[in-house]
Symmetry: C2
């Protein structure tokens, strides 16, 4: 099956070809270029499917998510091979990413079953209350409506067609219209077909899931402006995210946009840690920086240090490791070109020293790792030094003392993560920095690297603007389901009209309820 | 004490006088006109207070909220008298509103103590997991930062200086800068001073609360554009809310805006209910419509019916009751003028029949109740007939059948509430309408009137745009605290650095925690 077999094949299209990342050549299969007419078809189908889909019971919806996972696994190695060709990422990474994709679909299945996301609240009537009786009030969360999901290029499986946004929106009860990333149409089509098979197997309406592809920006713009779309999930560039935000806020009815956009993920090297293991930290840092050609939202693009013993060891080891790093195929020629431009701008800045260049790229899409260094003074004076360069580029900012470090932190934009490398003897300093970091980021980690993003319940992959467009949520982990829900209150409705989970006879079903302000777990 | 005694007295101001609602005359005390310099002072103080205030333990923060309630009560009758003069609302209503204000402060104190709002999540490390160990991840909600609250004119106590927005923001740990409503500066100053006394009594930094007043729009515009303001709570007109939304979304860092703006609160009269008690419903409807001169966000401004037995009884009884309703003092001359204009436009529409006019106003601020009637066809043809007319005006829309009723419902904008008047024999029809209503409103009620908004846990005072700017939340009841929080995740932090409630030794403190996906209540 190809994408042509989907719901969206009613309109004739021009085609575009899948590109092989390593060569930058459009030598893969041809895919249709979807346009506004396809958006209208997909959104109408999503809208038509919404009431039936949101009415599914928790077990059915969980089984659907698990079926999607099975269908993706059933594609077999073809999926990994397609993703390797289209993304340039290595096999082990993509097999791991497939596992993550399957894992998060299954996690959301268990979340759906738990029912905690329903946020049930019951305030029973008090007919004898003075001076006025209290009515019976019951609350649950309901899904927002059809959700537009934008596939990301850097995770062709876990943040794309069946990625975290799709999984959490489907878990919430929202039909999904994916705007597939044009860098991996073949991978996207394989996954979209797997989801379509799961839709059929579970007897759900076809419009629960649609997949649109095309190389330009018009498709996405039309999608987020469709009045039937109720929310948007996006992972990508700052420019792309801000454009979607502007379009959605200018709609007659503005809608929530969850755009994960831009982060340089400061890594703070505290003095005692530097003293005891500066060189080891330098080597480990380079490993995190260069993994996957640096193409992670959580890539450590900024190292903040205070002048201290061991800092030179860190710099020397990082410089050596980055210098020895092989060039790596980047996701697209466009991303590669933007990386080269961004790294060249950093390196060309008067107050920035180029510490290391990795192995040279000898193809049009191979990225060369880069390490830079500057002073806090220079970093504070030039905002551009703090902008994300998507790829294996990082800048070390040397601060004279804690006060200067705090000034640099205070001037940073919102970030996904902040990392502390520290020893016990750094704890007091770390304690003073924590309140500053909490206001800047979504996740604070100690003695690790930000590039691993665990899919679990306590993960926050999110953070203040411009890391994301909405710091109140997260796009990885079970918290992500809350993005697609809103509360509805039912007052004095008869049991027959109440949603099943809000009836008195549903008590004891294991779903948590706040009853008169008291949380009851079963 | 007057507002001059607050933090904001460092700049010399022009003055404006408190207006007596009944006469429209500015014959009350004079108050300073705050401007951008005052905004800067208040926001700097709020920012300076934030870290200390958010670090308060739950018991201290709860005690502070309770102390505010006590200080408001301690003002005594002066507060009720001032509010009566400035709002034109009767004593019983304002005494009730004071009780509601006190009650919601105390409710938020109990919410703060419960700790559920912290949203604690713990995913313990799995050092032996294959292929990679799992780090230790812990999550809690933290407050967003200083919050700007706009007092509403129609609830000079419960939705104003110490109203629901202020109470929920303070409960979340956010300092508050109130932009007091210029229609009740004396009432606002009395309440602001009470809060200031509570701040001092509880040993909190002065900047936890500030109160700014002035008659124009510049003050509010400056406030929401201050970079230290992290969120906005607003209850008022659609124009005002949209203006704030535009200003905040155009900031370098956009911020959440919780604007409660516009709703006509459809009341659906189902056929069996009409048949058995059309006349009684008509009289009761008129009571809800004219209460408080109709100046409620949840005022029943739209009645939807299907042609059926008993409808004429309803119309006759409602017409008689509205015709007999006395005129009532409205909140301000501006609101009165807008009401007259809106009602005249409705009545002047070619396809709208004026059923009833209440007692004539003989003062410049007395509003005359109005009841109109039209066909579904006319209502669908002219969007203006569905716009809110703030005051005691309502329009009955007669639909030929269920299909036409559904078309009218489908075309409605988002609403705070929808009301069903129904008998058991209407249950099937009601069941078919519920999914439509759920997508349009925040609260669905049966056999009551929307004008009572219970302050409790299961209340949703909110709804899809333009009822509010953010349907994911509610501005009345305990859910409102979530508006001012965002999640932060802590990875592999040592116990000494973790927030107290996330340490292992905090288990058993009665605060709910999601541990490895399992909700544990104590």
């Amino acid at each position: 099956m190809t994408a042509d077999a989907s719901l969206i094949d009613r309109v004739k299209h021009d085609g575009f070809r899948s590109v092989t990342a390593e060569t930058g050549q459009p030598d893969g299969a041809e895919f249709p270029v979807h346009g506004p007419a396809d958006v209208a078809v997909a959104c109408a189908a999503a809208e038509a499917a919404f009431d039936a889909y949101r009415a599914t019971d928790r077990e059915s919806r969980a089984a659907f998510l698990e079926r999607i996972a099975e269908e993706i696994l059933a594609i077999g190695d073809d999926l990994v091979v397609a993703a390797m060709r289209e993304s340039g990422l290595p096999r082990a990474r993509l097999e791991g990413e497939r596992g993550r994709t399957i894992g998060q679909l299954r996690m959301f299945a268990s979340v759906v079953r738990s029912g905690a996301w329903l946020g049930l609240r019951v305030d029973p009537a008090m007919p004898d209350r003075q001076p006025l009786p209290r009515p019976d009030l019951r609350l649950r969360m309901i899904p927002l409506g059809p959700v537009a999901v934008f596939g990301a290029s850097n995770f062709p499986l876990a943040f794309s067609t069946a990625g975290g946004d799709t999984a959490s929106a489907l878990a919430a009860g929202c039909p999904v219209v994916v705007k597939g990333h044009p860098a991996h149409p073949q991978t996207g089509a394989l996954v979209a077909d797997a989801i379509a098979r799961a839709v059929v197997a579970c007897g759900l309406p076809e419009g629960v899931f649609s997949h649109l592809v095309g190389p330009g920006n018009d498709l996405g713009a039309a999608l987020v402006q469709d009045p039937r779309i109720a929310a948007v999930g996006f992972t990508g560039s700052r420019g792309g995210g801000l454009a979607l935000l502007a379009l959605t806020q200018a709609r007659p009815v503005p809608i929530p946009v969850y755009a994960e956009m831009s982060s340089i993920n400061p890594v703070l090297l505290l003095p005692e840690a530097l003293k005891t293991r500066g060189a080891a930290l330098g080597a480990a840092f380079a490993g995190s920086l260069t993994m996957g050609a640096g193409q992670f939202c959580t890539n450590p693009g900024l190292v903040l240090t205070i002048e201290s013993e061991g800092l030179d060891d860190f710099v020397a080891a990082a410089t050596e490791a980055v210098s020895g790093a092989d060039s790596q195929v980047m996701l697209t020629t466009g991303i590669h070109a933007a990386y080269e431009k961004g790294a060249a701008a950093l390196g060309g800045s008067a107050d920035v020293e180029t510490l290391a260049r990795g192995g040279e790229g000898n193809g049009c899409t191979r990225g060369q790792a880069m390490l830079f260094q500057t002073t806090a003074e220079a970093f504070l004076a030039d905002k551009a030094l703090g902008h994300e360069v998507f790829g294996a580029s990082s800048i070390i900012v040397r601060c004279r003392d804690e006060a200067e470090l705090r000034t640099v932190l205070g001037g940073l934009e919102g970030q996904l993560t902040a990392t502390l490398h520290m020893d016990d003897a750094d704890a007091e300093l770390a304690g003073r920095l924590l309140p500053v970091l909490e206001r800047k980021v979504g996740r604070i980690l100690a003695n690790g690297w930000p590039t691993g993003v665990e899919v679990c319940h306590a993960m926050v992959h999110g953070g203040p603007f411009p890391a994301t467009s909405d710091a109140r949520t997260a796009s990885v982990g079970s918290l992500a389901i809350d993005r697609f829900l809103r509360p509805v209150s039912y007052q004095n409705l008869s049991p027959a009209l109440l949603p099943a989970e809000l009836r008195d006879d549903a008590r004891g079903d294991g779903v948590p309820r706040l009853v008169d302000g008291v949380l009851i777990v079963n």
